[in-house]
Amino acid sequence: MAETAAEIADLLARCALRDRAAFKTLYGRTSAKLYGVTLRILRDRSEADEALQEVYVKIWQRADKYVPGGYSPISWLVAVARNHSLDVLRARKPQGEDIDLALDVADAGPNPEQAEAARGERSRIDNCLGQLDEEKADAVRGAYLDGYSYEELATRHKVPLNTMRTWLRRSLMKLRECLSA
């Protein structure tokens, strides 16, 4: 896994040098994952296809924004795909500035020690989500993986919007405590 991450980081670095062969390899390695993201969030093949194309245009144009040793390169790519898909959902048209911000923030992402710590994060977040009511943990996962907004979650869980907000905010406070511990 670490080896793959190093390879992806290397491919990104070569993309930043405008190496098209590296871009093609990067696409071959990562497009199934990123298509999984756009497809799951947008739930429509033609929209997901279009979003995937936009995502890789951004990756080609912004490959130099990835800082090795910070964010895992795969997380960075997933973040580009996820943020773009959410923008499409929110506005049914991409909002460039949000993507800029998302990328800028990712740039300043966790330092190497934090990245090291991130390896244990997977079980950690599962553990912390496990401490929430199942319904609320599902809502957090649904927001992250399916791009559900407060409105959609309220409809799905058949509760008023404000109730959903209050529920989730409390849950996020708990989650933050658990994740910071």
Partner: protein
Amino acid sequence: MSDESDISGMGEDSVLAAEYALGLLSADEHARAAARLRAEPALRSDLRFWQGRLASLDDGFAETAPPPAAWTALEGRLFAERRAPWWDSLMLWRSFAGVTAAIALVAIMINVMAPAPDPNAFAAQLVAALSAQGSNVQVVALYNAQSGEVRLTALSGDKVPDKDYQLWAIQGDAAPKSLGLIKIDARNDVKLPADVLAAFGPGTTLAISLEPLGGSPKATPTGPVVAVGKATAI
């Protein structure tokens, strides 16, 4: 304990960062949060916390191979639709390997490589290391904001009979602008023209091409690019 006390006070910004990272907010709320994030470093640090932790959920996205046509469309859009800028291809540079035999790769130890600046006058704020694969031309460029000059010092590179080296500046998507001919065996102080100076800064690309005597017959380079580098602040 009321709902309000749970979500007010110190934790509120962190909750907002989480809502933003998860994508829970409506378009309006999201835009407002984005504006605050741009202005507030502490909020950005909250956002990084959440982005880092939530990324552990990425395993939940199942891999699905995109249709083969997706790559073709992407490739067409990025590389065929518009002609790529002339400096945009490593392959192009590689194809001019005949210029000299030696392969030079610059170690980007810019501060070490840069010659000690002349303490009297030359206060360099930007530096670029120029080189290209397939060429032995290596040049360090130092930019002096006070004089608006770029000082070029060649570390290696040979004179080529019946050819001149020409320096170019590339800024954004604009066509390369000539900065004039340079000597490969001497120090060059190049005064930047006003239009280049106006946008000169980190990210400006400097390139050297090999041209017919007297320079490129066109406004843009015609010969092989033997060295290229991006200005970086020091």
